[in-house]
């Protein structure tokens, strides 16, 4: 089985993977909401961090917990917990981001019996020179809570190892992303997304191994279709692989992305330092920001534009979860920026389930805008 197929398989059986892992290693599993939970610390405690995600199925269990204008991703996520699909978790943690996911967290704490439910008060004033110190304070509490859960101390050695493993993971994924700069990328956007999402679900050692296999396979790999238009995807939470597949089948390839199941999640490494927690904290404060914790447009926009140019994109799909205010704020100016650089954009709004038919028309029309030149 190729590495790509393995990613696909594990993603499809992610709960089984986590439960098997528990059995195999005797370790505990900690779920995370959003991407501001310090994976290094969880892993150093001998636990498996997994990101809690939805399934894109229609459900009717969250309406009595979350107000209808909470973003669909957060509803979907809570629904998984309410349906008992995450019963194997020993802990659930969240790093402060936006108020929607906070609603998911609060309801999880109140209505789902996970042993440890922990809130990391992430300092969102990222520009403040005091943010790192504050986060170290938060991490100290989090570390203690994890130690209490496992009954074992988290050592500097353990932290070093975890930092090293996750840095490797980030570096390897970046190498894969580099190959997407090729005129004919050897990997589709949907496949790349499966790679990143599994990195949020798998033991980093095992994921690294698969990444190495993948990097061996890719140079000889050729997609069985034309690359078509080179597109970028930008937006809020996104793990709807089926949608990306549908989109790429219409005649385009996603060559780069900026979202939290993609580049934004893994782009920056931890710069090791004597004070381990401070080193980790510094990474999360200064990492590629999620707009929910950033109040500085240019910080994000400059990075977005740079990768758009480096990966030579011909268009950008900007999407948001319905009602997602942190992202909605950015979109008009983001569109304007792309326009100034002659990169056409298409904006789509996502719900738990999406109207494939309507979206299809829009995407096709968007592709035609670029392609009908031939006529």
């Amino acid at each position: 089985m190729s590495a790509i197929e393995k990613f696909h398989d594990i993603l499809a059986n992610r709960h089984q993977y986590a439960m098997d892992w528990k059995e195999r290693t005797g370790g505990k599993v900690v779920g995370g909401l959003c991407t501001y939970v310090p994976l290094e610390i969880v892993y150093a405690a001998g636990m498996l961090p997994v990101r809690v995600l939805g399934t894109h199925e229609v459900q009717d269990v969250t309406d009595r917990y979350l107000f209808p204008t909470v973003c669909p991703f957060c509803r979907d996520t809570l629904a998984q917990g309410l349906k008992g699909r995450y019963d194997y978790l020993d802990g659930l943690a969240m790093g402060r981001t936006c108020s929607h996911i906070q609603g998911t967290f609060d309801n999880w704490r109140n209505y789902i019996s996970t042993t440890l439910v922990y809130y990391i008060w992430f300092p969102c004033h990222r520009e403040s020179p005091r943010a790192v110190d504050c986060l170290v304070g938060e991490y100290t509490g989090f570390k203690e809570a994890l130690e209490k859960l496992t009954g074992k101390p988290i050592t500097d050695d353990g932290l070093d190892k975890a930092i090293e493993l996750y840095n490797t993971n980030r570096r390897l994924m970046k190498q894969v992303y580099e190959l997407r700069k090729n005129e004919d990328p050897p990997i589709t956007g949907a496949e790349a997304m499966e790679m990143v999402v599994t990195s949020q679900l798998m033991d980093v050692v095992e994921h690294n191994k698969l990444l190495e296999e993948l990097l061996e396979e890719l140079p000889d790999r050729k997609l069985d279709r034309e690359t078509g238009l080179r597109l970028m995807m930008i937006g809020s939470e996104m793990d709807d692989i089926e949608f990306v597949q549908m989109m790429e089948e219409l005649g385009c390839t996603i060559v780069i992305d900026e979202h939290c199941s993609g580049s934004r999640f893994f782009w920056d490494e931890v710069v090791p330092g004597e004070d381990r927690l401070a080193a980790i904290a510094s990474r999360y404060v200064h990492r590629w920001p999620c707009p929910a914790v950033s109040s500085n447009f240019s910080d994000r926009f400059d990075r977005v534009l740079k990768i758009a140019q480096d990966w030579n994109v011909q268009g950008a799909l900007v999407y948001q979860q319905k009602f997602c205010d942190p992202h909605e704020f950015d979109i008009p100016l983001l569109q304007q920026m792309f326009k100034e650089h002659d990169i056409p954009t298409l904006v789509l709004e996502f719900d738990v389930t999406i109207p494939f038919g309507q979206f299809r028309t829009r995407i096709e029309a968007f592709l035609e805008m670029a392609e009908l030149e031939v006529l």
Partner: protein
Amino acid sequence: MITAGIDMGAQFIKVVILDDGKVTARTIIPTGFEPLEAAKKALDNAMKEAGISRQDIKSIVATGAGRKSVDFADSSITEVTADARGTIHLNPSVRTIVDIGAEEARGISCDAQGKVLDFAKNDKCAAGSGAFVESMARALEIKVPEMIAISLKSTKEAPINATCAVFAESEVVSLIHSKIEKADIAHAVHDAIASRVSSMVRRIPVEKDVALIGGVANNAAIVDVMQKHLGTEIVVPENPQYVSALGAALSAAS
């Protein structure tokens, strides 16, 4: 004592005449553009059926969305109260009532005396209502009774995601295009409504027994899927469409 209850629904006006706790007449006519005229007519019809005249009626109570326009009624009560009253009269063991009408759905939780403890209604969305069934039947190009009949025979799941009635219609059309059986589409339509209504109803405590009333309670396919969604058996009182009117007539008697 003879009393009358008038339910001024969005689509139909229902009248019930009560004589010492016994229903002596039951009439229904479309609301139309002149609801007041229609209400008079419905009442006239009912009086004829009961063989009584206006002087015989001690008190008239109106309910329903248009209740305030009934100038000949002695007083009015909201549908929520009327629903609870009527249902408990018919089935005293009911604690949760679901009423699905032409344009609205509501869930009511009540005690053994029919006192309302809590209720929920759908806000500005027609997707969980009789109107939705009707427009989907139109998209399927069949009549509602036929849609119900085939829906009960469905064997496969089909998805309908849109909650906007118009978009759901086009989803139905595209399901037809992808050669999905009409029976399965009909089932999906009912399932979509039930899912919407039940997720609204879950905002109040759902305790047994659960009753379904309103015109849509006549729809066996909806009753069937609602039981699955709420995970409990559902009682449908006799003449479910008249329960509100009955509640109003009961209230007129007290």
